[in-house]
Amino acid sequence: MKERNKIGVYVCHCGGNISDYVDVKKVVEAVKDLPNVAVARDFVFMCSEAGQNLIKEDIKNLGLDGVVVASCSPHLHEKTFRNAAKEAGLNPYLVEHVCIREHSSWVHSDNPEAATQKAIWIVKAAIAKVSLARDLESIRLDMKPEAIVVGGGVAGMRCAIDLGRAGITVHLIEKSPFLGGRAAQIGKMYPSGISGIELVKKLVEEVKNNPNIKVYTNAEIVSAEGALGEFKVKVKINPRYVKGNVSDDTISQCPVEVPDEFNYGLTKRKAIYKRDFTYPDTPVIDMNACTKCGKCNPDFNQKPKTVEVTGSIVILATGFKPYEPKEGEFGYKVYDNVITLPVFDRLISISNGKLEYNGKEIRDIAFIYCVGSRNEEHEYCSRYCCVATINAALQALEKFGDLRVYHVYRDIRTYGKYELYYEQAGRDGMLFFKYDPENPPVVERSGNKLIVKVKDLLTYGEEIEIPVDMVVLSVGMEPEMSDVFTMLRVPFSRDGFLQEVHPKLRPVETAIGGVLVAGTCQGPKDTVEATASASAAAAKADTYLVKGYAELEPFIAEINPEKCDGCGECVEECPAGAISIENGKAVLKEALCKGCGACGAVCPTEAINLRGYYYDQLRKSIEAAGGD
């Protein structure tokens, strides 16, 4: 093929990030007279408007037929430069973005000369590659306005509502029998003072009233597959075993009583139960508890139903679970009155008049912070617990009066306006003790009191013993694990939560195209932050679904039937199942191809090229890089 010979080369200083080590002028000098190059320039920030304009002007005025930008990682700006070229009328895939920052200036900052030489090789290789580049076209993918939201907590509901209101069909899948997630268990919430139940009610009303949202509760995901624009999720809907309208009276007929998980076993519920504040208002029979006495007019013949739902986008909003302390951790499960914060929150909500636990009136409480966070097992801070602990303590004080409260903490992280809660706690006479993680507090029993022994840094390391009736452990958040993560192959961050692509540039996208994250499955958050991230995920989905299409990069396999001898190696190798052998030749199903290139690598006859990375391009690049 004819080589391109009007290539523009642009070397970026990255404001010193590159030019402090790589001699950018020398790079320009080294390539400006190469046969395929029409112009070579350097500029302080190629990605800025002025830098992009430089490229656009050259495309228009010099009629460039290819562009090489040598700057930061293509991960950051390849799109930026492709768009710039497109706006100036050049096929965006004739732009090659190479990295001389991470790959040269940063890693070789100790040897500027070598860094410069390496940058020159990288740029020469890119010029060679562009000189043989083909005009490629992006693949346009139509998007049906339909989305799947997994998880019906506040994040999942917020996201479903925002999408539903924008006219998008939403399948909202919740594994438990009722919508709401964990927020419903909170008494009076910071920062607005609304109760968890009111918050959930409010969102549930909107979900119920939106005709675009289809809710599936008691629903288990059995399989999930597909890609952006065409996800398929199979959902097994477990039966509730009730029929018709079941009155409260009927429910009370049930003879079985088991601990109510909503109140962490502080109260009991029947085997048949419902939750008044949420959806659906149909009760459910807990078959692990039910004795099949038949008093509630049940229908034990109901069978699980499997439905398949489709969506152009999947949003994961599967939430968190509170850390469960190990036996013996700060006396947990060893002493009766050591409980976790979520349990304490329920205890406040259901207690009236006085605060009692295990038949004992509670007059003094110590809270121990950072349990299950900021340690070797969980390096991260769980974010919500400082504020939630102080908030719970303030509520207990407000509701029961006359309590002595001690906070045994590491740092009080009442960030932003939440500081006002901390201040209030101080005004209310609560006492604070700071511990060193090397010397954590110890919980012991003495008579009918628990003793918290702490080496308090605020009194210069004095050993203090605090006698209390109850110890509350401020436990952190862990991600709620789910098979659907593996089904969709979503990556995790180091902390075990789902990994976003970039916290600032693409905070709700995962590495899997079309799979977004919302709420606490991505990291600890309170409801303010969880609902904001859920709306943000809805916004990202809107950019595809309201518009109605997505544009995908053209870098997929291309099979040359003339060279193919039908050996089938590629069929074996393709992880997406995109290749089949028909009439003795390999045939590609383009929609399935992920562009991984595995097929090309095994093809013995070089019949398969990856678009944008054709063999001749790669050979010439390698030659140019090693050429001097």
Partner: protein, 431 residues
């Protein structure tokens, strides 16, 4: 003129909201009061917790906003009046005169070269100077000059030097009327003015050695500029005398968590940006000693605690105590503090002290928009737990630091959230 949405404020929140709306197919007008968009983020060095270079991730967003077919920019402009009639907002925007014709100026900078007047450069918080006619900064969007009439001496040199005849001393303010269906308020924050904390001896004037005010006490935004890849002197030097600072301290909670100054709130980002600056400082000056005076280290976001632990393990000192005063000795700042973990009163001398100033509210549009603020001037979303970006006025949404100090990841999430609320609202009222 008619648009679907007016976005007020061209910081990262406003830019992100505009781009999201544009990508979803809506017509957006982005109004920014400064000569360039970018807000505070474009001034930062690198950003925690990923230590991406702030310029590298902000400039492309700025450029994308400028070139997006659905996003329209109006810089150096202020919203003067907003009136809701039915489902529409009528808005009056005042375009301030740049005294440079925007469509003619090519950003060549020749006017700047010839102008004889030198004044402190806002972009670098006065660490270096700019001319009376100037391009706000290298990566400005739009990259157009602006003439500051207050300092101009009308010599006419720029007018003669300009190859495009773009200088126009006769420009008048221009009032533009527009109609939109929804508004996103992303007007951001104001930096706490460190002069207000008298005990910390900060001087706004960086070149003059004053008896007790010390130019080697700078604020954190100035430190951001000194640490940025595009930094003023291309080297990290202290402003007082140009010496390489070998010992640097950060004083956290300056102007935050401080009732005596009327701001009991925590500013949410200053712990982390100080930890980040300490890391950047020790990488720039490997033999440098860094110390952080704090009350609590608030490393609460994703990856923050890990970042803090790493910096701590690298040898940055953390001393717990609220700094009482900063004095001067031989031109060096001396930090006077009680170490609350030992009870010791310390007097620590440094080459340079950085005041980790807080983020204050910017409530300037609350009356015009008719949305409530709390007693600290931040906008309050009435239904914060369920919908943190909605205001009490249907069709007006708010995002980013306009509601409370917050970091960039949280700001960006809210910006997109506001866009989602806007889209839902627009679809309901009909577009």
């Amino acid at each position: 003129m008619k648009y679907d949405v007016l976005v007020i404020g061209g910081g990262i929140a406003g830019i992100e909201a505009s781009l999201t709306l544009g990508d979803a197919g809506f017509e957006v007008l982005l109004v920014e009061k400064d000569p360039s968009i970018g807000g505070h983020m474009i001034q930062l060095s690198k950003v925690f917790p990923t230590t991406d270079c702030a310029g590298c991730i902000t400039t492309p967003k700025m450029a994308a906003a400028a070139s997006h077919p659905k996003v329209h920019l109006m810089t150096y402009s202020e919203v003067k009046e907003v009136q809701k009639t039915g489902k529409e907002f009528r808005v009056k925007v005042l375009k301030k005169p740049r005294y440079v014709e925007e469509d003619l100026c090519i950003g060549c900078g020749r006017c700047e070269e010839v102008c004889p007047v030198l004044v402190p450069r806002e972009f670098d918080y006065g660490i270096v100077g700019r001319k009376a006619v100037y391009i706000p900064f290298e990566m400005a969007v739009p990259k157009k000059a602006v003439l500051d009439l207050e300092h101009c001496m009308m010599c006419g040199r720029c007018e003669r030097a300009c190859p495009k005849d773009a200088i126009n001393f006769l420009q008048e303010p221009e009032e533009v009327e527009i109609t939109v269906k929804a508004i996103i308020v992303a007007t951001g924050y104001n930096l706490f003015p460190p002069e207000r904390k008298k005990e910390y001896s900060y001087t706004g004037n960086l070149t003059l050695i004053h008896t007790n005010l010390n130019p080697n006490i700078i604020h954190a935004m100035q430190m951001e500029r000194l640490l940025a890849p595009s930094r003023p002197y291309h080297a990290l030097l202290r402003p007082g005398d140009g010496k390489v600072p070998e010992r640097v301290a950060w004083v956290l909670c300056t102007g935050s968590r401080d009732k005596s100054l009327g701001n009991p709130l925590c500013s949410r980002v200053c712990c982390m940006y100080s930890v980040k600056q300490a890391l950047l400082y020790t990488s720039a000056i490997p033999f440098g000693e860094a110390a952080i005076y704090y009350m609590d280290i608030r490393a609460f976001g994703k990856g923050f605690e890990e970042f803090y632990t790493m910096v701590r393990d690298l040898g940055v000192y953390f001393i717990r105590g609220k700094v009482a005063r900063i004095e001067s000795r031989n031109g060096n700042p001396v930090v006077i503090v009680e170490d609350t973990e030992t009870g010791e009163i310390r007097e620590d001398e440094y080459d340079m002290v950085v005041l980790s100033v807080g983020l204050l509210s910017n409530p300037e549009l609350s009356e015009i928009l008719g949305i409530d603020t709390n007693s600290y001037g931040f906008y309050v979303p009435p239904d914060e737990n369920a919908n943190p970006v909605a205001t009490k006025v249907d069709g007006i949404f708010v995002a980013g630091t306009a509601t409370c100090p917050k970091d960039i990841p949280d700001t960006v999430a809210e910006a997109a959230a506001a866009a989602a609320q806007c889209i839902a609202y627009l679809k309901e009222v009909g577009t």
